[in-house]
Point group: C2
Chain length 121, copies 2
Amino acid sequence: MTPINIQQKFTKFSKNWHPHQIAIVDDMQVILAKLKGEFVWHSHEHEDELFQVVKGTLYMQFRDKTEIVKAGELIVVPKGVEHNPCTKDDEEVHVLLFEKLSTAHTGNVKHEKTQTHYPKI
Amino acid sequence: MTPINIQQKFTKFSKNWHPHQIAIVDDMQVILAKLKGEFVWHSHEHEDELFQVVKGTLYMQFRDKTEIVKAGELIVVPKGVEHNPCTKDDEEVHVLLFEKLSTAHTGNVKHEKTQTHYPKI
């Protein structure tokens, strides 16, 4: 029940594509991540996933289109939908995610970028 | 799967203490509200509730203390904990909430401020 400062939490880690957990709400978690470049095509069979962009511009690639999500915007990726977040021009994009605690980082895919543990900060 | 601009959504309603739904993530919803003055003491027996402050300063009163939550900060009110959000100096505070679809506006309390329907915007 202590206020959590989002900007301050972003100073606590630097690696790209490494989610860090800042809060839990029932069976969901709030995580922060710094994205740069391209991630991995994947989907989450059973979980929706919300991306709120805090800094920069996120290019959320779907198989049939790319949605541009700017700072102050959010997008919900429905369960089962293949997606691949990426950023352009070497920009580091800061995002806050809401998702089930059970959500696997790269869903059904195993990749060198896959993280299985999200440190609490 | 369309990006949602949070500021733009806030222009779509004006009444204080009237939550509006902007997204659903699994069995949880993202709602926006404009708060001014004092709300109502209540708790949610079965649901946690996340408040992210987008504009202004929220004073989250608990029975034993008040937490000050500024723009760019968030606070999670655990299930069962009595709380009463308020603002000071007639400030209108904008918040984004993340909570179960089942969460009742004023929990176990009925009050003239209680809303039972959150319009989708």
